[in-house]
Amino acid sequence: MFRVTTEPLSVQQVNDLVKRPTDGAIVTFDGIVRNNFDGRPVRYLEYETYAAMAEKKLAEIGAEVQQKFAVGEIAMMHRIGRLEIGESSIVIAVAAPHRHAAFEVCAYAMDRVKADVPVWKKEFFADGADHWVNQN
């Protein structure tokens, strides 16, 4: 499953989506809203997306890794809208027959998301300022 959603993410739910009796490993990445940007205190974040393209790109990344690597099911969910410190912004679960492929593909899929999925993060700082990441 490849989704962007405004609903809170459940690591367990994403994990369960990929579980199969043939796969002996699931590696799940849980991306968390951090309370600072290079030490500057952050109050909360907002994520914006081009939803239709984001879900298409997530699915393409999923198809790509299934073709290239010995993995089973993969699921990626990205949360959109306002997120508070400590909430999950993205959850990626990768199942595989053996652990090495699951670890490798989970990290690789996350790198691909950061490169090509149209989602944008705006940070709201404790001092009242805000900025779009990577856009100035």
């Binding site: 809203v33 994520y47 393209m53 990205h78 912004s89 993205i90 490169a115 990577n134 856009q135």
Partner: protein, 82 residues
């Protein structure tokens, strides 16, 4: 012909809108549409160099020829994930 330009994130804020209807010559490439866009919305100019372009939910080259009714989506540097 007419196309629409869709903006997100900082460019949306700078333009003050998320959708712009543009009139461009028939057979215009994305690069020509961008010149028209920037002439009408000069506040977008500083960001164009770092922007990617999407048609029909795929990234496309800026030399791509546009068709009547196309939705050209400007994709500024993405920052998804954690």
């Amino acid at each position: 012909m007419h196309i629409t330009v869709t903006l997100f994130a900082l460019m949306r804020e700078r333009a003050g809108t998320d959708t712009i209807l543009l009139e461009v010559p028939a057979g215009a490439a994305i690069t020509q549409a961008l010149a028209t866009l920037v002439s009408q919305y000069p506040t977008l100019e500083p960001y164009i160099a770092n922007t990617r372009f999407s048609l029909h939910m795929d990234f496309v080259d800026p030399n791509t020829i546009l068709a009547e009714g196309d939705e050209l989506v400007l994709i500024p540097p993405v920052s998804g994930g954690a």
